[in-house]
């Protein structure tokens, strides 16, 4: 019997981004890093995707901004953030101390603003890539409007592509009838990878007051409830493009992360579960490693898209 290879190779690549394992933390669920640094060894993560950044500081929506529902939560934070300049000066010195790729999630209200914010990170030490938020349901000005019309998406992704040399990862909305169309638009425009899914548009009503629970009226559903939806979309999208797919939506344990990889994802991101249990991402890393070893996979890359018919 051949000597068992004790440690599978967990490393994956997303464009130029080399990750020591396939597990990221999703944008909006991990702040900018320091918030969880006491609880999670940031250097153990595959990558950190920071909360959405715009060109100028942005206040976000009024409160209440979040409500729990069975199997998830609905949020309408509204992309509150300090702006690109302050993010770089206040958070990057901290993040550079860790051996972990930092991916900046960016958004704008116009195509030009998207391109402009992308340029802010050019040459900034410690930033490994940009995730393009064209799918946030929570602001009127942009977000989802850019990600649900293929023509508009093409304009945004192309404009950003021309202005950045960093690996570019458009984050797709689940709120479309044919995900493959949007995955291909991203690939055509020179994206290095795609990530999906963003939250599902949702709404909660308080029957006592007969008012919407969220001040923004509508928000985005995340958490375990959206996991099967995300698996289906990742499976479809990954078969439509050659670029890597990052799968996210409802991961709470290694099993759900493995489903994404088997469906075709090169990497995954843990989101809402960071709130439930901050050690989820580390448990998922350990669990994937264990699964690979137990099932005879020498590398995490060997499991990508290994769905049996």
């Amino acid at each position: 019997m051949a000597k068992q290879n004790s440690k599978p190779d967990m490393s994956v690549r997303i464009g130029k981004i080399r990750m020591k394992n396939p597990v990221m933390v999703a944008s909006g669920t991990f702040g900018y890093g320091p918030e969880y640094a006491d609880l999670v060894d940031l250097s153990s993560l595959g990558a950190i995707v920071v909360k959405g950044i715009s060109l100028k500081p942005w206040q976000g929506n009024p409160t209440p901004r979040m409500v729990e529902v069975p199997g998830g939560l609905v949020n309408a934070i509204g992309l509150q953030n300090p702006g690109a300049g302050k993010f770089i000066s206040e958070y990057m010195p901290f993040l550079r101390k860790y051996d972990v790729p930092v991916i900046v999630n960016i958004w704008g209200r116009t195509v030009e603003e998207y391109a402009e914010v992308a340029t802010q990170f050019e040459g900034v030490k410690g930033i490994s890539g940009l995730e393009l938020n064209i799918s946030c349901p929570n602001i009127k000005e942009g977000g989802i409007a850019f990600g649900t019309d293929p023509k508009v998406m093409r304009r945004v992704v192309s404009a950003v592509r021309r202005r950045t040399s960093l690996p570019l990862i458009p984050k797709l909305s689940p709120n479309v009838s044919n995900i493959t169309l949007f995955a291909r638009v991203a690939e055509d425009c020179g994206a290095d990878a795609i990530s999906l899914i963003n939250s599902l548009p949702a709404m909660v009503i308080d029957v006592k007051t007969r008012r919407p629970v969220l001040a923004n009226v509508v928000g985005g559903l995340t958490g375990p409830a959206i996991h099967p939806v995300a698996i289906k979309l990742v499976w479809e999208a990954s078969r439509a493009v050659k670029i890597p797919v990052i799968g996210m939506g409802g991961i709470t344990s290694p099993n759900e992360a493995l489903e994404f990889i088997i469906a075709g994802a090169t990497a995954v991101a843990v989101g809402t579960a960071n709130f439930t249990d901050p050690s989820t991402s580390l448990n998922v890393i350990k669990g994937i490693e264990k699964y690979l070893a137990a099932n005879g996979f020498a590398s995490a890359r060997d499991l990508i898209g290994k769905l049996r018919s």
Binding site: E35, Y36, E68, G71, L73, I77, F275
Partner: protein, 259 residues
């Protein structure tokens, strides 16, 4: 901030739907300061993705105690917690009350279970003072014996008059303030519903003193990542949305921009 499994030492009713949960959790208990909170994952709460925040009622000797009322799905499910169970706790979180006022007489104002962090505070303040406790009925007046044991003076008001003065807690407070008792200098510490916090802020402005108010905002992550629990805070003339879980939950009254 730590993430620990706490061992349940005791879980008992305190009347009126209130319950007291005592946990063995040395790391968090040793670091806890009055006004800080812990974020608990409620065991066996199906489909829940969010933890629940609780003010710290007592901390020391490796133990941490919380006082809570069953008001929603999460706190109802907590009733099933039994001795020797383990619960996952993040803490201590938040900033806590300012302990730097040594000259002023501390005046504590509590509404309902808002009294819990004020007991912890009274146990750590160098100077004894007064506590005003308000509630709907006598069953909502908690921790009176705790304050008396610490040598504090207690004034009570209930809306139905079943204990203490009939009316809101601001009634005995205003009578005390009007009698000139606060002339030597006072500092407010308060915890309770927003309406009461606002009322204390108005009195602090009128009597030109500081008021440290613990705000109760609906929280998500509890550590400052999700930005669900923000409050409008004015600092240096600039109003911004500040995280209650991280920069709060205690704010100085003059900084708070009430909606």
């Amino acid at each position: 901030m730590k993430h620990q499994q706490a061992l349940v030492l005791e879980h008992k009713g305190a009347g009126g739907g209130y319950r007291i949960l005592t946990l063995e959790v040395p790391g968090i208990a040793a670091k806890a300061r009055p006004g800080q909170f812990v974020h608990m994952r409620i065991p066996n709460l199906d489909g829940a993705v969010l933890r629940r925040p609780f003010s710290i009622y007592r901390a020391g000797g490796g133990k941490l105690t919380i006082l809570y009322k069953s008001v929603g799905r999460g706190t109802h499910a907590m009733k099933a917690i039994e001795k020797n169970d383990k619960v996952s706790l993040l803490g201590p979180l938040g900033n806590g009350f300012s302990l730097r006022h040594t000259k002023e007489v501390p005046v504590l104002v509590a509404g309902g279970y808002g009294v819990a962090p004020l007991v912890f505070l009274a146990s750590r303040l160098r100077r004894k003072g007064l506590v005003f406790i308000g509630g709907a009925t006598a069953r909502d007046i908690l921790c009176v014996a705790d304050f008396k044991a610490l040598g504090w003076e207690v004034r009570i008001a209930t809306e139905d008059g079943s204990m203490g003065i009939k009316g809101l807690v601001t009634k005995p407070l205003d009578e005390w303030l009007a009698s000139g008792c606060g002339a030597e200098g006072i500092v407010f510490y308060a915890c309770g519903p927003d309406g009461l916090m606002k009322a204390v802020a108005e009195r602090a402005q009128h009597y030109v003193c500081k008021a440290w108010l613990s705000l109760d905002k609906h929280m998500g992550c509890g550590v400052g990542a999700c930005l669900a629990c923000v409050q409008k805070i004015k600092r240096g003339g600039v109003v911004s949305l500040v995280r209650v879980c991280r920069e709060g939950p205690v704010f100085e009254a003059a900084e708070i921009e009430w909606n």
